[in-house]
């Protein structure tokens, strides 16, 4: 019989899960606010090079800088870009703290582009306002974060995958159970407060290339946090508002409206003509992109071949050294040269990512999920279009609030029976003699997502998809791992399956079309504000079944003008008559 005493238990005040962008900031802030508190940063890879910004970031996409933009204007723009379905208080909170965070990062040594007068060199990419701030030296941002983690004495545990959150008998989160990715050691981290920062769910759909890891998102971001939040009873929101992004065909780097747009590059059709007013990523923009791909004018291209040599060199310098630096190598292999021809583009697989769209674990303006003691930040949490700076801001908010929550709480009691049964469940694939390898399980699952769940969404297809995915739940007990690494993949695949089921459930619940391509529901082609001007919350009901419900939109703190409301509906360029 296994005893709890056989399992390593670590006690900590604040546990932060995920060491990419939001996570380090949450951990650092928690220590800054209360240096006596113990703070652990748990990371599936290594915090030195983990998460969406493992190789840095080429700029801020949503900087709200006095003199260029106001928090009110930004909140309006994000409200409009999301067809009104936002927690405005949450967006405004971000916007109001945005400049403070830029200054904080600037003080830490992150270099933001400045003009000849020493002011931030902000560029216009969005439809209405001006928010894009280049970071030409952005490749070193992880190093800067790492230094701060060390200086603040955050306890870093690398190479542990968190599998399930724990809660006490009051329903308050009390830590997590995790497994070592190299030794399959199961450990328990008992914590007074937990901040989830596990990034996007980027492995739901299968990239068109068929390569499992050729995803838009860093594939370590597979929805661990979405799955953990769901199982512990938290609500998730807007999951039907998929993330789908414009990419270079076959290469999973963004085509980069934010980098090339301000320098004169744009998205064009096969004739070299612009067809969208604004390259800022929104569902409406993606709808026009999709329509053009399907039309006689397709496919779609990134057009730079009209630019001056020095401009192209500047673009190459940024795009080929930052964020996704293997892009240059990809172009070399294909003989692509920005100077001489347009580069083919395509659309990404589906995913959940609040960084770019609006789907994730529901949080309010304090970073609180619907479960006490559990906070969320970054691509995983529901504040829309938050990008890297939003991850930092909400990491900061969560760190502050989580350490305060922990201060008023004793070390929680552990649920021994739950921990022991989870340990057996987690390790089961290693105990089998043979069975289904995780890679085959995951390939099939993600192929089904592409076949049945990606837009255009059709009820009958999603019905079949949901059934096929539920059939796959029965395969879990046959998953087979030969070593701890394959066990990591087996556990990830189960989280991916949870996310795929959530995508289907939420999509079928919202019986209208909204957010352009993100929720293009063929059976319900119109936007229906009368019935569906609301959030869709997904949660685990009392029978442990996946369920959805409506959540009314909180009254706006900033009203929109009638004309502004439709600004993002008019994406397609009107032909001059």
């Amino acid at each position: 019989m296994t005893q709890l005493s056989d399992i390593t238990i670590k006690d900590i005040d604040v546990l932060v899960i995920g060491g990419g962008t939001a996570g380090p900031m949450a951990a650092i802030t928690a220590k800054e606010k209360d240096p006596k508190a113990s703070v652990m940063l748990l990371e599936k890879a290594n915090v030195k090079r983990s998460g969406a910004i493992s190789m840095g970031m080429d700029g801020l996409n949503n900087a709200v800088i006095p003199g260029h933009a106001t928090p009110e204007q930004y909140t309006k723009e994000i409200t409009i870009a999301n067809d009104g379905i936002v927690l405005q208080k949450g967006v405004l909170e971000y916007a109001e703290r945005s400049f403070y965070m830029i200054q904080k990062l600037d003080n830490w040594g992150v270099y933001f582009q400045k003009d000849e007068t020493g002011e931030y060199d902000v560029k216009k990419v969005h439809h209405l306002g001006t928010y894009v701030l280049p970071m030409p030296e952005g490749h070193n941002i992880k190093k800067i974060l790492y230094r701060r983690l060390r200086r603040n004495r955050v306890v870093v545990e690398n190479r542990y995958q968190a599998i399930r959150l724990l809660k006490d008998d009051t329903g308050t989160v009390s830590g997590c159970i995790a497994v070592g990715t190299r030794d399959a050691e199961v450990i328990v981290i008992r914590a007074k407060a937990v901040v989830l920062c596990t990034g996007a769910a980027g492995r739901i759909g299968l990239p068109a290339s068929g390569y499992l890891y050729g995803t838009y998102e860093n594939p370590t971001n597979c929805g661990d946090g979405h799955s953990m939040a769901y199982h512990v009873g938290a609500e998730l929101s807007g999951l039907e508002c998929y993330q789908i992004n414009p990419l270079l065909k076959d290469y999973n780097g963004p085509a980069c409206a934010y980098v090339t747009g301000p320098l004169g590059g744009y998205t064009a059709n096969a004739n070299g003509d612009r067809f969208i007013e604004c390259d800022y990523w929104s569902g409406q923009m993606m709808m026009e992109f999709y329509n053009e791909l399907q039309s006689g004018n397709g496919p779609v291209f990134l057009k730079l071949d009209h630019l001056a040599e020095e401009t192209i060199q500047e673009i190459e310098q940024v795009l080929h050294t930052n964020e996704r630096p293997s892009r240059g190598r990809f172009h070399d292999g294909r003989g692509n040269d920005y100077r001489t021809k347009m580069v083919e583009m395509h659309i990404s697989e589906i995913g959940f990512c609040a960084g770019h769209s609006a789907s994730g674990v529901w949080i309010n303006e304090k970073g609180e999920t619907t479960v006490p003691g559990l906070y969320g930040a970054g691509d995983m949490a529901s504040i829309p279009h938050s990008y890297m700076l939003g991850a930092f801001v909400y990491g900061d908010i969560c760190g502050e609030n989580a350490v305060e929550f922990a201060r008023h709480r004793d070390l929680p009691k552990l649920d021994e029976a739950f921990i022991l049964s989870e340990r057996d469940r987690i390790l089961a694939p290693l105990k089998r003699e043979d069975g289904i390898p995780p890679n085959q399980f995951e390939y099939k699952l993600r192929r089904l997502v592409n076949d049945y769940l990606q837009p255009p969404k059709i009820t009958k297809k999603m019905d079949i998809g949901l059934q096929r995915l539920k059939d796959m739940e029965r395969d879990i007990e046959f998953l087979y791992a030969r070593d701890p690494h394959e066990l990591l993949r087996a556990n990830e695949a189960q989280h991916v399956l949870d996310c795929a089921l959530m995508a289907a459930k939420a999509s079928m619940y919202r019986q209208e079309s909204r957010w352009g391509l993100y929720h293009h529901y063929v059976d319900h082609p119109e936007t229906n504000n009368e019935d569906w001007f609301c959030h869709v919350q997904l949660y685990k009901d009392e029978n442990n079944e996946m369920a959805c419900k409506k959540r009314p939109i909180d009254p706006y703190v900033i009203e929109l003008d009638e004309e502004e409301k439709t600004a993002y509906q008019k994406m397609r360029i009107q032909k001059v008559s």
Partner: protein, 77 residues
Amino acid sequence: MPTANQITMVPVVVDNDKCIADKGCRTCIDVCPLDVLWIDEKTGKAHMRYDECWYCMPCEADCPTDAVTVNIPYLLR
């Protein structure tokens, strides 16, 4: 359930003459987000053990002896 061993060309290539993993270096293994680089027990050098690459390049960028090259996976090339 019978299984098969299929061959795969991997994207990350390590130059064994330059690699100093046998002297204790673990840089590329440490930084790989997907944890696909391991020590080859026969040579003591680093090698790509699992074809699960995001071609993100920390392994190449951080290698102290320039032993690592990241290629684009064949399916994408």
